[in-house]
């Protein structure tokens, strides 16, 4: 499938992002600049960066792929995140900006001094970002293998090397501008494809839907394995995809890059509008166009009747049909930029948790100098890169949507409840936060491992121990209940220090609301 145009555009993306990194590296020296771009990003820029950080290749290609293969879960994947961003705006963004400087565990640690809760929150953040990174690496390897004919392992190593360069040298400033560039290019890309799609049907959306409906009746039988086939899975995945957004460290970390709470609010509004526009276009135009135009065209299918490269490549094939090699090259380069922007954000969050929380605060108890911490940050970036590349190669062929849902489930069941309760419940004790968070983390990962996708498909057992791949509907309430119960059992020896800290935290969180 590789064309000279596609290769030229890939090289352009790589050179542009490396130039951004070089520019950012000259402006990034201190700890504040590395972790938070010196809090110098405006709300609009940060909104673009959040949109760039959040809209991964698996979201764009995956949603169209789901619809193309007759899986109605695509609708759920589009609706849920926007609710998550609303909850983030109403409950999380502002206090986070007012209380923290560099990382999310730092905010929780304001409430509970000592190393336990901070260490746990950092570890949970690391688990979420590593799962997410593996998904992106697997997607990147497969995509470059198909688009450029590059061997899978080499493709993973190329992406890993680029993300290490962005983060280790350019820090948050480079990551931010790579994400902003990606968001702009993505919006331009999907709008261009929409115009070409509509031109294909004389700008009559109704006739596009009519053709797609005909194709559905002729070719698609409907997918019976999706989450929407049971009410439990529907609610559980809906909960994970919405509340999981509020526990994603690489998204939350972006609020430290703006100067005040007002800019933090503006960030979310800009991000929500952009994400809504792109998601609506992907579901209601591009997915239907893929169904309408690709089915019945043998050149896009292999001998077994499967779409070349799998259903996730539906949008890429559609771009070739609409605009030839030029548009396909552009769409492929946009997808590549998408992956680079997301992995840069994830690496930033992982290296921050390792260097700032685990190394400087948990192991060195705050005794590390700024220079030592920054050295550790670069070392952590390298370590995360190596681990992500190795796991990306090891997990080749694993279902990407499943890996992403793993990250969202853990984020919704472990990170989100601890952060929400620490910010809003005065009665939460150190033990309550620690045990509740641990129960959320262990139960969500345990149920995922015991579910059909790992227990049966990967480990080869005949029957799963847990009947669903979606644990959040059980794991999240369990984490909240455990936090409540343990905190109440602590009531006699009330964690007076934590309650005093809550009063101070509440004042600070609301005092600088802007």
């Amino acid at each position: 499938m590789q064309s000279p145009i596609a290769i030229a555009l890939f090289v352009t993306v790589i050179i542009s992002t490396l130039l951004i990194t070089r520019w950012a590296a000259r402006r990034t020296h201190s700890r504040s600049e590395f972790y938070a771009a010196g809090s110098s990003i405006t709300g609009t820029q940060n909104g673009l960066a959040i949109a760039g950080d959040f809209m991964s290749a698996s979201t764009i290609l995956g949603v169209a792929g789901l619809a193309f293969s007759g899986n109605s879960d695509a609708v759920l994947y589009i609706v849920a995140p926007l609710l998550g961003f609303t909850i983030m705006l109403l409950f999380i963004a502002e206090p986070l900006r007012n209380l923290g400087r560099y990382t999310v565990p730092e905010v929780v640690a304001l409430r509970f001094t000592g190393r336990g809760v901070r260490g746990f929150t950092a570890a949970a953040s690391l688990v979420v970002t590593i799962f997410y990174l593996i998904a992106q690496m697997v997607g990147a390897g497969a995509l470059l293998e198909i688009l450029l004919g590059m061997p899978y392992a080499l493709a993973v190593v190329v992406v890993a090397t680029l993300m290490m360069l962005y983060v280790a040298f350019g820090g948050m400033l480079a990551t931010t501008w790579v994400q902003i560039t990606k968001a702009v290019v993505l919006v331009v890309g999907v709008v261009t494809m929409t115009v070409l799609t509509l031109a294909h049907v004389d700008f009559d959306l109704g006739s596009l839907y009519a053709i797609a409906r005909e194709q559905m009746s002729d070719v698609l039988t409907g997918n019976r394995t999706g989450a929407l086939n049971s009410l439990y899975s529907t609610l559980s995945l809906g909960l994970a995809l919405s509340l999981g957004v509020c526990g994603l460290p690489h998204v939350l970390m972006r609020f430290f890059t703006v100067p005040d709470a007002r800019q933090a609010r503006r960030s979310i509004v800009v991000a929500m509008v952009l994400i809504a526009i792109v998601f609506l276009i992907v579901l209601f135009v591009l997915s239907y166009a893929a169904i309408a135009f690709l089915y019945g065209k043998p050149e896009f299918f292999d001998d077994a009747g499967v779409l070349r490269g799998g259903a996730n490549m539906a949008v890429v094939h559609l771009s070739r049909l609409l605009g030839g090699d030029v548009l396909m090259g552009i769409v492929s380069a946009v997808t590549f930029a998408t992956i680079l922007a997301v992995v840069a954000g994830l690496t930033m969050a992982s290296a921050g948790a390792l260097a700032h929380d685990l190394y400087a605060q948990v192991f060195r108890r705050g005794a590390a100098s700024e220079q030592q911490e920054l050295r550790m940050f670069r070392f952590a970036t390298l370590a995360v890169t190596v681990v992500a590349a190795l796991l990306g190669i090891a997990f080749k062929g694993t279902n990407i949507s499943f890996l992403v849902s793993l990250a969202f489930s853990v984020a919704a069941s472990a990170n989100f409840p601890v952060l929400l309760l620490a910010l809003y419940w005065r009665g939460l004790t150190r033990r309550g936060a620690l045990v509740g968070g641990a129960v959320g983390l262990i139960s969500s990962t345990g149920m995922l491992i015991a579910g059909p996708a790992i227990w049966v498909d990967v480990l080869g057992y005949a029957r799963p121990l847990f009947g669903s791949n979606y644990p959040t509907l059980i794991a999240l309430p369990l984490a909240l209940f455990t936090s409540w119960a343990v905190s109440h059992s602590d009531a006699r020896s009330a964690d007076a220090q934590a309650q005093r800290a809550f009063d101070e935290l509440e004042l600070k969180a609301n005092a600088e609301s802007g």
Partner: protein, 90 residues
């Protein structure tokens, strides 16, 4: 100082109530849509994709409530800022 703390606490309480109300309404609409989606798929696995009007209205209403909450919150913020400026001028 105590007066300022009381004012901050009052504002925090008002804000929490408003946020709970806005989030509650958005969540209720979302949950209702999830139930309708699941029912639609149980009748016909392609139902939500085939019936564009159902999906379009459902997604549209959810997006409208999400963005509406954002607008309502922003409006409340503006009123609070104006009130704080008035109090400051006194």
């Amino acid at each position: 100082m105590a007066e300022e703390s009381n004012e901050i606490a009052r504002r925090a309480r008002a804000r929490s109530r408003l946020c709970l109300l806005l989030a509650g309404v958005s969540c209720a609409v979302f949950l209702l849509f999830l139930v309708l989606l699941a029912r639609s798929v149980q009748q016909d696995p392609l139902g939500p994709l085939r019936d564009v009007r159902f999906s379009g209205i459902g997604v549209g209403i959810n997006f409208a409530f999400a963005l509406g909450s954002v607008v309502a919150f922003g409006y409340w913020r503006r009123i609070e800022r104006a009130r704080a400026a008035r109090d400051g001028a006194r």
